[in-house]
C-alpha cells in the first residue's frame, strides 16, 4: 500500500506540473500581460518597465517558470487587475460557496445513480429501463447552462418559488443566524437541484451499463441457477462486482461536474469560483482566469487521487501490482 501511495503521489505531482507548464506557456506565448497597459498613453514606458521588473517579466522564460511554480506553492497566484486584489484571496473567498454546492450535489447524485442504476440494470429490457435510458440520454445531451436557465425560468420567473440570483438576498441584514441560513438555503435549492438532477441522470447510464456487463458474467448465472434469492444475488454478486468500474466512471465524471458548476453558477449569478471564471473571461482578467483554472484543476487532481486510493482499498490487486 505504501509503495502504491508513493507512486500515486508522484504521478499526481507530475500531472500537476504538466498542467502548470501548459497554463504558464499558454499565457506567455499569447502575448504580453502588460500589453493593455502599454497601449494606455497615460502610462509612461518607464512605469511599464518598472512593472515588468516588479513582476519578473524581464527575466528569461525558465526563470519565470520556476518563479511561477514557487509562488504558486506560496499561495501567490498573481494580482487581479479588475478586482485590484490578489487572485488567491479572491478565489478563497468564493471557494466555500462552490464547495458547499459541489460536495452535497456530487454525493447525492452518485448515491442516486448507484442505487437506481443497479435496479434498472437488473430490469434491463423492460419498460422502466427504456424510460430511464431515454430520459438519461436526453438530459445528458442538454447544455448545463440551458437546463439551468429553463429551471430558473420555470421556478423563479413563472412560479416565483425561488429567487432569481445570488447566494443570499443582497442588502438584507440578518438579525439571527437562522435567518441567514434560511435565506441561504432558499437561494441554494435551485442550483443544487439542477446540478444533482443533471449529474444523477448523466451518471445513471454508465452505472446501468456496468451492471448489465456484470449480469452477463458466469458467476451470476451460477448464483441464479443455485436458486439464491434475487435480492441476495443483486446485493452480494452484482452490486459488489459492479462497484469497481462504477467508482472509476464516477471519478471521471468529476471534471464534467466542474464544467457544470461554472455554467450553473453563471446562470444563477451564484458567487462561487465557477462564476469567477465567467467574470474573468468577461473582464479579460487573465491572471484571475489562470488562478481559477489552476485551483479547479488542482481539485480535479486531488479527487482523482482520492478515487485511486478508494480503488486500491476496494481492489487489493491494484495495491500489490
Amino acid at each position: 500500500m505504501k509503495a502504491f501511495l508513493v507512486r500515486r503521489i508522484y504521478t499526481s505531482f507530475i500531472t500537476f506540473i504538466v498542467v502548470i507548464a501548459i497554463v504558464f506557456l499558454l499565457a506567455r506565448m499569447t502575448g504580453d500581460p502588460l500589453a493593455e497597459l502599454a497601449n494606455d498613453p497615460r502610462i509612461s514606458p518607464a512605469t511599464i518597465a518598472a512593472l515588468k521588473a516588479a513582476f519578473g517579466l524581464d527575466r528569461p522564460l525558465h526563470e519565470q517558470f520556476v518563479n511561477y511554480v514557487v509562488n504558486l506553492f506560496r499561495g501567490d497566484l498573481g494580482y487581479s487587475l479588475h478586482y485590484k486584489a490578489p487572485v488567491f484571496d479572491i478565489i478563497m473567498q468564493k471557494l466555500p460557496y462552490t464547495l458547499a454546492l459541489l460536495i452535497p450535489s456530487i454525493t447525492l447524485s452518485n448515491y442516486l445513480a448507484y442505487t437506481i442504476g443497479i435496479e434498472i440494470g437488473w430490469r434491463r429490457g423492460t419498460r422502466l429501463d427504456s424510460v430511464f435510458m431515454s430520459v438519461s440520454m436526453f438530459i445528458r445531451s442538454t447544455p448545463y447552462f440551458w437546463l439551468a436557465i429553463i429551471f430558473l425560468f420555470v421556478f423563479s420567473v413563472q412560479l416565483r418559488l425561488t429567487p432569481i440570483f445570488g447566494a443570499v438576498t443582497p442588502g438584507k441584514s440578518f438579525s439571527l443566524t437562522w435567518d441567514w441560513i434560511s435565506d441561504y438555503l432558499w437561494h441554494y435549492i435551485l442550483p443544487f437541484f439542477v446540478m444533482t438532477f443533471r449529474g444523477f441522470l448523466s451518471e445513471l447510464i454508465y452505472v446501468r451499463n456496468v451492471v448489465v456487463d456484470v449480469l452477463g458474467e458466469d458467476f451470476v448465472t451460477t448464483a441464479v441457477a443455485k436458486g439464491l434469492p434475487e435480492k441476495y444475488v443483486k446485493r452480494k454478486y452484482v452490486a459488489r462486482n459492479a462497484m469497481l468500474p462504477i467508482v472509476t466512471v464516477l471519478g471521471m465524471r468529476y471534471a464534467f461536474i466542474i464544467d457544470g458548476a461554472i455554467q450553473t453558477e453563471t446562470v444563477f449569478s451564484y458567487p462561487g469560483t465557477g462564476r469567477l471564471v465567467y467574470e474573468a473571461i468577461f473582464n479579460r482578467d487573465f491572471w484571475l482566469l489562470q488562478g481559477a483554472v489552476v485551483i479547479l484543476t488542482m481539485s480535479v487532481i486531488v479527487v482523482n487521487f482520492i478515487i485511486d486510493l478508494l480503488y486500491a482499498y476496494l481492489d487489493p490487486r491494484v495495491r500489490y501490482r
Partner: protein
C-alpha cells in the same frame, strides 16, 4: 461488403434506437443542407425592430439587434453539425494513426505514445479547454483544434488495444509471410478492422463536442461570427431574453442541441452494440 450491409441493416432498421438516432441526425442534416431555402432571412441582416415577439413574420421573434432568430436557428444547425463531425473526426484520425503504429510496432514508439496518452488522459480537460480557448482567441476552428487536442488520446488507447490482438491473427501473419511491409500491413490489413469501432466512437463523441462548443460560446469564448446554437443562447442570455418574455429564443436552440445530442448517442450506442464484441451479451 455483404457483412457491412447486414450490419447497416441491423443498426438502421432492426434496432429501433439506431433508427430513431439516424432519423434525428438526418432531420437536422437536411435543415443544414437546405438552410438557404428554409430560412426566411439572412441571419446576419437586421430585418426588424429589436426584441420583436414571435409573430407570422418572425416565427421566433427577433434578437436584441433585430436579426431574425428563426433564420439564425436554421443556419446554426450548420455550425453545430460541423463542430459535431469535424472535432471527433480530427481526433479519430490522429488517434487511429498513432494507435495503430504504437500497437503494431511496439517498442520505443509504443512506450512514447502510451506515455503521452496516459499524461493526456490524466489532465483535467475541461478547465484546460477553457483556458486554451481563452488564449487562442475566439474562432470556430480554434475550438475544433482544442477539442481534437484533448480528444485523440481516447481514440489512440482504444485502437491500440484492438491492434494488440489483431496483429496476432493468422491473416496478418499470412500477409507478413507474403512479404508485405509494416506500413502495408498496418494500413491495408489492420486499419479496416478497427474502423467500425472508430466510427462508433466518432458518433458517440459528437454529442460532447457540440456541448463543449455550446458551453464555450456561453462563457463568451465562442466564435461571434459563426452563429452556432450556443452563440444564439449566449446572445439570449446577454440580451436578457427571458426578461423580454422571449422564451422561445432560449428554448428552441437548447432543445435542438439536446435532440441532436440524443440522436448521436442513440446511433452511436446502436453501432457500438453491433461492432463491439464485448457488448454482445448485453441484451437479453
Amino acid at each position: 461488403m455483404v457483412s457491412i450491409l447486414r450490419d447497416l441493416r441491423y443498426i438502421l432498421i432492426e434496432n429501433r434506437m439506431g433508427l430513431i438516432g439516424f432519423a434525428i441526425i438526418m432531420f437536422f442534416t437536411l435543415i443544414a443542407i437546405f438552410a438557404d431555402i428554409i430560412a426566411p432571412y439572412n441571419p446576419y441582416e437586421l430585418v426588424g425592430p429589436p426584441y420583436t415577439p414571435p409573430n407570422e413574420r418572425f416565427i421566433l421573434g427577433t434578437n436584441d439587434i433585430g436579426q431574425d432568430i428563426f433564420s439564425e436557428f436554421i443556419y446554426g444547425s450548420r455550425i453545430s453539425l460541423y463542430v459535431g463531425f469535424t472535432a471527433p473526426i480530427l481526433s479519430s484520425i490522429i488517434g487511429t494513426i498513432l494507435g495503430i503504429i504504437a500497437g503494431y510496432l511496439g517498442g520505443y514508439i509504443d512506450e512514447l505514445v502510451v506515455g503521452a496518452v496516459d499524461v493526456m488522459l490524466a489532465l483535467p480537460s475541461l478547465p484546460l479547454i477553457i483556458i486554451l480557448a481563452a488564449y487562442l482567441g475566439p474562432s470556430l476552428n480554434n475550438i475544433i483544434l482544442v477539442l481534437a487536442i484533448f480528444g485523440w488520446p481516447g481514440f489512440a488507447r482504444m485502437v491500440r488495444s484492438q491492434v494488440l490482438s489483431l496483429r496476432e491473427r493468422a491473416y496478418v501473419e499470412a500477409a507478413r509471410a507474403t512479404g508485405a511491409g509494416s506500413f502495408r500491413i498496418m494500413f491495408r490489413h489492420i486499419l479496416p478492422h478497427v474502423v467500425p469501432l472508430v466510427i462508433a466512437n466518432i458518433v458517440l463523441s459528437a454529442t460532447s463536442a457540440i456541448l463543449t462548443e455550446a458551453g464555450l460560446s456561453f462563457l463568451g469564448l465562442g466564435d461571434p461570427i459563426a452563429k452556432s446554437w450556443g452563440q444564439i443562447l449566449r446572445r439570449a442570455q446577454v440580451g436578457h431574453a427571458l426578461h423580454q418574455g422571449l422564451w422561445l429564443w432560449v428554448f428552441t436552440p437548447g432543445l435542438a442541441i439536446a435532440l441532436l445530442g440524443t440522436g448521436f448517442t442513440l446511433l452511436g450506442v446502436a453501432i457500438e452494440e453491433k461492432v463491439n464484441p464485448r457488448l454482445k451479451h448485453s441484451r437479453r
